[in-house]
Amino acid sequence: MITLNHYLILSGCLFAIGMYGIITRRNALLILLSVELLFNAANLSFVAYARYLGDLTGQVFVFFTMVVAACEVAIGLAVAILLFRTRETLNTDEINTLKW
């Protein structure tokens, strides 16, 4: 019998993996990719709660999350292209003008 806890633990593990990716990756594109993992961990727990509480609102929220994720990716990738065009790199160790 698969309970809500199984899904919550899976979602937590996915979130942790994504967080590790954000912290350790130095490529801006791959950081964005790890953010996608976080989005999906949140989506999974939304859907799991929708199922186990018997309320479809969770699924509607996942729909909204996807829209936000799509916008975030469009803008984020545009920023990445712009960064690459100006700095010739995507390494976040070298993009440090704000870190003085």
């Binding site: 996915l14 942790a16 993996i17 479809l56």
Partner: protein, 186 residues
């Protein structure tokens, strides 16, 4: 029993793919591995009776978002390995601490709330009809606002990735465009 089997199979697949996304050196492989993770997540959504969400998930994530990612990775030519930096070890250690702390926290929270929502769920299928009805009645205003958000996304992406033009000749200057073309233009 079948549900348990599929749950463990596809949650394992999802976790493996996610780990590969985080640990592989090659950005192209990372994106492709995330596609695999999205597909197995969609199957988990089907197990949770969220059929509409599962389909949209495959279409939007695997179909649109990750293809966009792949396109940019190949366009920028960052498909080669990341250079190993000196600070990498420090980040790894810090990341390890954060992850362990986070997992402990999640475990404690799940233990604390596990009695509230459990067992014998009412089967509530997230078909297109059911989700659509909710989306167009109760959540109609947020639904309309998402279209504004998408418009903002489109305009933002176009404005950001547009190359600046020199006013006189009106020709593209790819190399020089970034250096302050905006101030020169006016």
């Amino acid at each position: 029993m079948n549900e348990a089997f599929f749950f463990y199979l596809f949650s394992g697949l999802t976790l493996l793919a996610a780990l590969y996304v985080v640990f592989t050196k090659n950005p192209t492989y990372a994106v492709l591995s995330l596609v695999a993770a999205m597909f197995s997540l969609a199957i988990l959504f089907v197990l949770l009776h969220a059929y509409f969400i599962a389909v949209v998930h495959v279409l939007v994530y695997a179909g649109a978002i990750l293809v966009l990612f792949l396109f940019v990775v190949m366009l920028l030519g960052v498909g080669r390995e990341e250079p190993a930096s000196k600070s990498q070890r420090l980040y790894r250690i810090f990341g390890g601490f954060v992850v362990v702390g986070f997992l402990l926290e999640i475990g404690l929270i799940i233990k604390a709330v596990s009695s509230s929502a459990q067992e014998s769920p009412t089967i509530l299928a997230g078909t297109i009809e059911a989700v659509g009805k909710l989306l167009f009645t109760e959540y109609f205003l947020p639904f309309e606002i998402t279209s504004v958000l998408l418009l903002v996304g489109i305009v933002g992406a176009v404005v950001l990735s547009r190359r600046e033009q020199m006013p006189a000749e009106g020709q593209y200057l790819p190399g020089k465009a970034a250096e302050g073309g905006r101030s020169k233009q006016v």
